[in-house]
């Protein structure tokens, strides 16, 4: 069975500060991992994805994430946040083709980020 845990329901940071949003996953097969962002009253938009290779992946708007197989983690980072980064961030896991699960995605509960001026 697959699962994704985002331990922080809400994170508040000051504008210009660094950011880390935590994500832990559990997967019986090769994990394919995504971070999506949801701005108020909008659908989800892809920030970045990890399939294999370099464990640090770059995304849009200065976001990056680091995959750790030993820690079963896929934490999201940003060096300096802007007020416009305020949104809900979802860590998402796919088991992929070989699992036979037809690319079904497992979502974390989300972390609401508030950036204060």
């Amino acid at each position: 069975a697959q699962s994704v845990t985002q331990p922080d329901a809400r994170v508040t940071v000051s504008e210009g500060a660094s950011l880390q949003l935590r994500c832990k996953y559990s997967s019986s097969g090769t994990p394919y991992l995504f971070w999506y962002v949801q701005y108020p009253r909008q659908g989800l938009q892809l920030l970045l994805k990890y399939y294999s290779g370099d464990p640090v992946v770059q995304g849009v708007n200065g976001f990056e994430a680091e995959f750790s197989k030993s820690n079963s983690s896929f934490h999201l980072r940003k060096a300096s946040v802007h007020w416009s980064d305020s949104a809900v961030y979802f860590c998402v896991l796919s088991a992929g083709l070989l699992s036979g699960s037809f690319n079904k995605l497992t979502f974390g509960a989300g972390t609401r980020l508030a950036v204060c001026p």
């Binding site: 994704v4 659908g43 796919s94 083709l97 037809f102 690319n103 979502f107 989300g110």
Partner: protein
């Protein structure tokens, strides 16, 4: 980038009534998905489809039907709406059987009174 639209954007329904949520995508993706989003649960998969004429049950299909009449359109149907189905519903599309990026619509807010 894929364009996924949903209608209506907001809907108020009465208990026991029929509700149809529509989704349209213009990038010729084979796969389409319906999710609901509730506080504390992230998104949960209701139904999905891998092409016109096909529908499959997701993780929480009870109380919902789906219809995929064409490559572009995927509907979610609540035959007898209940207050527990009050939620935000998202449609998504993707183009690979395996691992692909899913593109999401803007969502439909449904309130069942």
């Amino acid at each position: 980038e894929a364009a996924v639209t949903q209608s209506p954007r907001n809907k108020v329904a009465v208990t026991g009534g029929k509700v149809t949520l529509s989704c349209n995508q213009t990038n010729n993706h084979n796969n389409m998905y319906w999710y609901r989003q509730d506080t504390g649960h992230g998104l949960r998969l209701i139904h999905y489809s891998y092409g016109a004429g096909s529908t499959e049950k997701g993780d929480i299909p009870d109380g919902y039907k789906a219809s995929r009449p064409s490559q572009e359109n995927f509907s979610l149907i609540l035959e007898l709406a209940t207050p527990s189905q009050t939620s935000v519903y998202f449609c998504a599309s993707g183009d690979n059987w395996g691992v692909d990026t899913q593109y999401f619509g803007p969502g439909t807010r449904l309130l069942v009174l």
